[in-house]
């Protein structure tokens, strides 16, 4: 309870919103679960392998290297010394990197026994600039 005079123009009542104050929403915190292992990558301006899942040319990808890649994850991998972004498919001994572009229908990259697939990390967010 407040007593005494309240001077004009300078309210001494606490803001009714005070109890509801919270931190500003921080996109860094939202999109970077593990900072030391998170890297940003830029998708090239003609890269359309993953267009059906919304990874457009020039997209910004958030890649977390600390996540162990599982089947169905979208991963950043190395194929023939080039970086690619594809969906990882692992099922009954078959390992593939699949594209998501129905129109172009790129064939999957298949890894046979003894061939090593190098995954750099799992893509956790995809940011397309709309402006």
């Amino acid at each position: 309870m407040y007593s005494g005079r309240v001077s004009a123009g300078q309210s001494r009542f606490p803001s009714p919103a005070q109890d509801y104050e919270q931190e500003e929403l921080d996109l860094n915190k939202h999109m970077i679960a593990n900072p030391p292992a998170t890297f940003f990558y830029r998708v090239g301006n003609s890269y359309d392998s993953m267009i059906d899942v919304g990874i457009l040319p020039n997209a910004l990808l958030v890649v977390d290297r600390s996540i162990t890649p599982k089947s169905s994850h979208i991963v950043l991998a190395e194929v023939d010394k080039e970086l690619v972004v594809k969906r990882l498919y692992k099922w009954k001994g078959v390992i593939e990197l699949r594209s998501e572009n129905k129109e172009k229908n790129y064939p999957p990259i298949t890894f046979k026994d003894g061939e090593e697939l190098i995954v750099f990390g799992v893509v956790t967010f995809n940011v397309n600039a709309l402006k």
Partner: protein
């Protein structure tokens, strides 16, 4: 002092600068890579492929070996300090989860205190190594032992002897095994023993680490001082060097201060930054160190009503310097880049980074080779620079920055982790 019951791990990145470059260039996975010093002067880091090819080229001037190196398919990079600092932070942060206490010893080395961690330490070391590789892409080696000096030595063994697979744990080995390894190692592999000291000890017939370990510490103290005595005791398992969790001044020198009142003009900020640059340079010389990079930051108060503005930038120097004028110019040049009008700044600071001792040798940090004549010379330098500086102060700040000394970094890789326009690309 009784034998140490502490357990230290030294985690050291392999060919750190070269490895940082490789993280973003999968096409160079098996390619020999070298990194050149400021102004593309000489080789300061080599990937393991490059080491295998041209181990003796370390510290050689690049112009002398360039032709031959290129014929061999060696890819060279100018130093990209911004990238290395970023990757170093990731490395150190990743290590933090593995131990309650950590000492960041240099840009690519960190001690962890594993005392009381009740686990198979070889397996734990491997877990540390694998995690750092997965999270950051950096290959590291881990040396584990009961003293810091021994952990350093174990790390060396982990690096050089492939059967360890990057993790060497002295605590799980017998004394005989360790002694046998020590007998094979030259003194220069011991933390704190530089070339000069090694030569002196060699003259006395002490050629390998085992012989040093068995030397009489008291006699060594009489002849070489307490530091080498300590080294011997550490080699024998007595822990004399504590984990140092604070960043010692030897690694970076910082000068910064909040302003009494808010400051908004560039001229005022220039005065402040100039002051801090001078101050930091003086402290640098006091420690006999040279800086490879200059970092400047300015910010308003997070508690002010205006939106927070904080900006910082690092610039690598053309060559290691302790020269106030050069550092000052660099700092003011950075400030110009950072400055934004209409902001009421609350704080500014200058940090000198990537410090190297005058001799260019890490062992000098230990102070073994610091003679009186050297410090006397240092004082002379200090005085003359101070004199020169006070004459030039006012002129410096007003004349701005000449581009003449801006570093040659023609082969620098992109700032992959620090610039939106230079992110690694997927084509």
């Amino acid at each position: 002092m009784p034998l140490s019951n502490r357990v230290y791990a030294l985690c050291d990145a392999n060919s750190f600068y070269a490895s940082c470059e490789k993280v973003f260039r999968p096409d160079l996975k098996n390619t020999p890579v070298v990194v050149l010093s400021n102004n593309d002067g000489c080789v300061v880091a080599q990937s393991k492929e490059a080491k295998a090819m041209l181990d003796l080229w370390m510290c050689r001037p690049w112009f002398e070996i360039e032709e031959e190196a290129k014929k061999l398919g060696v890819v060279a990079f100018s130093s990209n300090y911004e990238l290395y600092a970023n990757m170093s932070n990731r490395f150190m942060t990743t290590l933090r989860q593995f131990a309650p206490r950590q000492e960041v010893y240099s840009i690519d080395e960190s001690f962890l205190d594993l005392t009381g961690i009740n686990r198979d330490l070889v397996a734990y070391g491997k877990q540390i190594k694998d995690t750092v590789l997965q999270w950051t892409g950096l290959p590291i080696c881990v040396g584990i032992a009961n003293t810091k000096t021994l952990a350093k030595l174990a790390n060396h063994c982990a690096k050089k002897q492939s059967h360890f697979n990057g993790v060497c744990d002295f605590t799980s080995m017998s004394k005989t095994e360790i002694d046998a390894m020590m007998q094979q190692l030259p003194l220069s592999k011991v933390w704190g023993i530089g070339n000069k000291l090694e030569a002196k000890l060699n003259k006395l017939g002490v050629h390998d680490v085992l012989r040093l370990k068995r030397a009489d510490p008291k006699r060594i103290r009489d002849e070489f001082g307490v530091l080498l005595e300590r080294t011997i005791r550490e080699l024998n398992g007595e822990s004399w060097l504590e984990l140092d969790e604070t960043l010692p001044e030897a690694k970076q020198v910082m000068s910064s201060r909040s302003f009494g009142t808010r400051v908004s003009t560039l001229a005022e900020l220039e005065e402040a930054v100039s002051y801090h640059a001078t101050n930091a340079s003086a402290r640098l010389r006091k420690h006999g160190l040279y800086a490879n990079a200059v970092y400047v930051f300015i910010q308003n108060s997070p508690f002010d009503k205006a939106q927070f503005y904080g900006a910082s930038h690092t610039v690598a120097m053309p060559s290691p310097t302790d020269n106030t004028m050069q550092i000052n110019k660099t700092a003011l040049w950075i400030l110009k880049k950072l400055y934004k009008e209409g902001i009421y700044y609350q704080k500014a600071g200058v940090m000198l980074m990537e410090l190297v001792p005058s001799g260019g040798q890490q062992s000098d940090l230990f102070g073994f080779t610091q003679g009186d004549s050297k410090s006397a010379k240092l004082m002379d330098t200090l005085d003359s620079i101070n004199k020169k500086y006070s004459k030039g102060t006012i002129k410096l700040a007003s004349e701005g920055v000449h581009k003449a000394w801006v570093m040659k970094r023609g082969m620098k890789s992109p700032n992959y982790t620090g610039d939106w326009n230079e992110l690694p690309h997927i084509r």
